[in-house]
């Protein structure tokens, strides 16, 4: 039989062994040969997740709800798959900013906010202290079980003894001493505790080995393997019901809620943050832990159900508490040493949790609750103290004692009360409130301080109201009417049927309402306002941490001045002068500078000092402290504007460049088309010259021919001679006319022609023209008629030029009329904006093909009857130029064989338009 003394000795020996391991770990770390720097130790330290709640509680839970114990381990398995992104980010950020607790992390993410850090700390302490009490209770219960077996098995906890006679009190004291020795050995910017981690990893091995040993003993020792055990269990009606109905079929909503809660707990519980983020030596270790840690959970869960079933079959129903099966089964078979191993396993599960959780909480309490307050109390003049490191360590140690004492008091008061039974899940629900601010902060840049603050507060209050206070009511510390009738008797406010929501278990109920409020407020309040500059800067550093590794840690915008000596003194006040000078020396080395005296106090150094101090007192306080020595010129709005301005100027400049290049392209295109036009004009000029010379040669040839005839034949008759001389004169005149027209056209086209506009009466012009040509018309027997209105509005144009146009069109008409009853009719029509002059003939007409080019130079319609062109071919071209000069239009409508109508318009002056419009 085991005596109390033996058990006490073994307990103390075990804790002594932990001391030795921790000491060895620290020594190796100081010597630079870490024993924890490998993924296996890292994984084992993560297994601090498995507490006595796993070791004893899982079996108890399996005995009442079958498979219902499993979600608590499936959730972390699922989350492990996301560690690749989530945990890696947390580790990177924490290393870059020397973040040492989850409160610090959240505070730092939202612009280094004291209030947020404090709130997180309070929630964590309130949520976790009962959980610590649960571990103490487990230690106490296992102690009394193993001591009093086979008596007193239902009431697993001893009747409350005066605490001086209570072993649990001494265990708590011992744990406090251990935690203080190895958790606050010295202040370090990284807050890493190698020896402690080594001890925790060792504990993880112990609890796994112990539990599996008991499992194997039950399955293969007491029964004949799984097959036998399950078959026998199925034969018992109650157990069969548990196996079938108590399985997952029970309540899928509870199942899902527990999965989600445990998923969040594995990254948000302070102790998990401590071991997985703060104590992480190398982020590569994360890799293997992703699958090794779930494997550990798998291994420790295989035998939960066999032990539960074995216990229920072995002991008569109701005689032994299922929570103690791990101990009582070996005891009942007289396997004393196995029972002792199980006891030590349970002890390691409890102590591991208590130690790490206490360190994590004490860091938070010191950095995010006590220090900010102390530093603000001007009366203490703390900011002027020379060396604060002793004070800091003192606060940490006091916090450790305080938290453990709190846990013990809770355990002592709660005893066997309801409050302890499902306290694990209540704690999980509390830390789950960090999820929106934490995960949102990791992946969403828009989250703001106010959003996080309001979400957290709302979630916390709902947790308090719907989970923690009801547990107090069930323990009898609050009137039970609080639960059954709601606060003030208002039905809708029943804590566990909030707003009438029913049909959910209390955990799912709390999870739903708290997350609704938490996420809802976090998102909506964050979206309410634009983040401030500080929040924005931090958000970028956190969310994009995987993107810029090397540059990611530096402050984005900083202006200020400080001396290196000031900074070193400041750091010395928090971590001690020696460590400070070491730290500066190593910083100088890392910057490639020979000595500390050659350092310059720039933004990077200030940030380095700030992050070192942050390790000791938290990021928010560190910022204040650094600001006290660094004459930091706050980034004024104008400067921010300048930075933004510079950025936008650069942007504008690049836009201008783009614009310029587009313009250049357009100019190039214009040049290219201008060049093409020039080439075209050049070609036209060549054509023109060759045509003109050709046209000139025709009359010249005939003049020369007739002159030669006259010269060679002096005996020609006079009549003949006169005829030839007449031809020569006419050809000369034609030549002169042609040259005049060419010159005229050239002048008009080049813009060198002189214009003499005057008020013009078209009636008069047309009458003059018809008079001038009446002789020719009479000779050719063509009837010329006019249809002119009595009064015409005046137009402004050069009289001679317009006269020329009319004359040209009339002589053209005469040239193409060769029928016996030829007629030419000239008319003027007053249009809305212009005068239209029409000259219509009933001559041979112009084919559609010819109409298209008759207005071009030297193009004329060949006379189909004579084959010889009449005129120079420039008349219409010149007419068109003249009409176009006065913004008019010249065109022809013609049907071959019936006649042609040439029309041109001359715009009316504006005043006339106005007159007509009126």
């Amino acid at each position: 039989m085991l005596t109390g003394a033996l058990i006490v000795v073994i307990s103390f020996l075990y804790v002594g062994l932990l001391f030795a391991i921790a000491r060895y770990g620290d020594k190796r770390a100081d010597a630079g040969r870490s024993i924890i720097a490998n993924p296996y130790i890292y994984t084992l330290s993560l297994a601090v997740y498995c507490t006595s709640w796993t070791f004893y509680g899982s079996v108890g839970r399996a005995a009442t709800s079958g498979i219902g114990f499993l979600p608590i381990y499936l959730g972390p398995t699922l989350m492990a798959a996301l560690w690749w992104y989530v945990l890696l980010k947390m580790v990177r950020i924490s290393k870059a900013h020397r973040i040492t607790s989850i409160a610090d992390f959240i505070a730092s993410r939202y612009g280094k906010s004291h209030v947020l850090g404090g709130l997180v700390t309070i929630i964590a302490v309130l949520g976790i202290v009962p959980y610590i009490a649960l571990q103490l209770k487990a230690i106490s219960a296992s102690f009394s079980t193993i001591l009093q077996y086979p008596n007193n098995l239902i009431s697993a906890a001893p009747d409350a003894l005066p605490f001086l006679q209570d072993n649990t009190f001494y265990v708590a004291m011992l744990l406090a001493v251990f935690t203080i020795l190895f958790g606050t050995r010295h202040l370090d910017a990284t807050e890493r505790h190698e020896g402690l981690v080594a001890a925790i990893a060792f504990e993880s091995i112990v609890k796994l080995v112990a539990f599996v040993a008991v499992g194997i003993f039950v399955t293969f020792g007491m029964f004949d393997g799984f097959d036998d055990l399950f078959s026998k269990a199925s034969a018992v009606p109650e157990l069969n019901a548990l196996l079938v109905q108590g399985g997952a079929a029970g309540n899928y909503m509870t199942w899902a809620s527990l999965t989600i809660l445990s998923m969040l707990a594995i990254i948000l519980l302070p102790r998990q943050f401590q071991v997985s983020v703060v104590e992480n030596v190398n982020e590569r270790h994360l890799n293997k832990a992703i699958w090794l840690f779930p494997l550990y959970l798998f291994a420790i869960n295989i035998f939960v159900l066999p032990i539960a079933l074995g216990g229920m079959m072995h002991f008569p129903a109701g005689t032994v508490d299922a929570d103690t099966f791990v101990l009582t089964l070996p005891l009942s078979e007289n396997r004393t040493w196995l029972a002792l191993l199980a006891f030590v396993g349970g002890l390691s599960a409890s102590t591991g949790m208590v130690i790490v959780e206490t360190i994590a909480l004490s860091t938070m309490v010191c950095n995010d609750l006590v220090m900010p307050i102390l530093l603000r109390l001007k009366a203490l003049r703390l900011t002027e103290r020379e060396d604060l490191s002793a004070l800091l360590i003192g606060i940490r140690r006091a916090a450790i004692v305080f938290i453990l004492a709190l846990g013990y008091v809770y355990f002592y008061l709660a005893g066997e009360a309801y409050a302890l039974v499902s306290i694990g899940l209540i704690s999980f629900s509390a830390v789950a409130q960090f999820a929106p601010a934490m995960l949102g902060g990791l992946f969403w840049k828009g989250g703001t301080r106010l959003g996080a603050l309001s979400g957290l507060s709302a979630g916390f209050l709902i947790w308090l109201y719907s989970l923690l206070l009801p547990s107090f009511a069930k323990s009898g510390w609050l009137p039970i009417t609080f639960l059954t009738e709601g606060i003030l008797g208002i039905d809708l406010l029943k804590p566990q049927q909030l707003f009438g929501l029913q049909g959910m278990d209390e955990i799912s109920h709390c999870l739903f309402w708290s997350m609704l409020a938490n996420i809802g407020l976090y998102v909506s309040v964050s979206l309410w306002r634009r983040p401030t500059a500080a929040e924005h800067s931090q958000a970028n550093l956190f969310v994009d941490v995987l993107r810029h590794v090397a540059a990611g840690s530096g402050p984005r915008f900083w202006r200020g001045s400080a001396t290196v000596a000031d900074l070193q003194t400041l750091l010395g006040r928090f971590i001690g002068p020696e460590r400070a000078s070491e730290s500066f020396a190593s910083y100088a080395r890392s910057q490639g500078i020979n000595g500390v005296d050659q350092l310059t106090a720039n933004a990077v150094l200030v940030h380095y000092v700030e992050s070192q101090i942050a390790g000791a007192i938290g990021s928010a306080s560190a910022r204040d402290m650094v600001a006290s020595v660094v004459i930091e010129e706050p980034l004024a709005l104008e400067e921010v504007m300048t930075i933004i301005d510079e950025a936008s100027q650069a942007l504008a400049y690049s836009r201008q460049l783009e614009q310029k290049s587009r313009e250049l392209e357009a100019a190039t295109n214009e040049l290219r088309s201008a060049n093409q036009r020039l080439q075209e004009l050049d070609r036209l000029k060549d054509d023109f010259i060759s045509t003109v010379t050709h046209e000139l040669r025709t009359p010249l040839t005939s003049i020369r021919a007739f002159s030669e005839i006259l010269g060679d034949n002096p005996q020609l008759e006079n009549a003949q001679r006169a005829k030839f001389l007449g031809i020569i004169t006419r050809e000369s005149e034609r030549l002169t006319r042609l040259i005049n027209q060419v010159l005229d056209l050239a002048k008009i086209e080049s813009g060198a022609a002189e214009w003499h506009p005057s008020a013009l009466d078209m009636r008069e012009v047309i009458e003059d023209a018809t008079t001038a040509l009446s002789q020719i018309y009479k000779e050719r027997g063509i009837k010329l008629t006019t249809g002119l209105p009595d009064a015409l509005p005046v137009v402004y144009a050069d009289r001679d030029r317009i006269f020329q146009v009319v004359l040209n069109l009339l002589s053209n008409a005469a040239n193409f009329c060769d029928k016996p009853d030829s007629r030419v009719h000239v008319s003027v029509i007053v249009e809305e904006t212009a005068l239209r002059i029409e000259i219509a003939d009933n001559g041979i007409g112009i084919s559609a093909n010819d109409q298209s080019f008759i207005f071009e130079k030297f193009r004329q319609v060949s006379d189909t009857t004579s084959g010889k062109p009449k005129g120079s071919g420039l008349g219409l071209a010149i007419s068109k130029e003249i009409v176009q000069h006065y913004k008019g239009r010249l065109w022809v409508v013609s049907t071959p064989g019936i006649g042609s109508t040439f029309s041109f318009t001359l715009p009316l002056p504006r005043s006339k338009l106005a007159f007509l419009a009126a």
Partner: protein, 66 residues
């Protein structure tokens, strides 16, 4: 240095698969009265799905990038 590569995406996919496997409605398919070697089907299912998931994670992590 851990690079957020294909491995990370594979793990996320595995996470989603796990969420499906470990929850209603897939879970309810195995809630019957059937036994395998005397062990209720749902236990066999959960533990084997769990084991497979862990094995897949190990495979993804440990496999060298081609």
């Amino acid at each position: 240095m851990i690079r957020p590569t294909l491995k990370g995406q594979r793990l996320v996919a595995l996470f989603l698969l796990g969420c499906l496997l470990f929850n209603y409605p897939l879970l309810s398919l195995f809630a019957g009265d059937m036994r395998i070697w005397g062990i209720p089907l749902v236990y066999v299912y959960l533990f084997s799905a769990w084991a497979i998931l862990i094995a897949a994670m190990a495979l993804i992590i440990e496999r060298r990038d081609q």
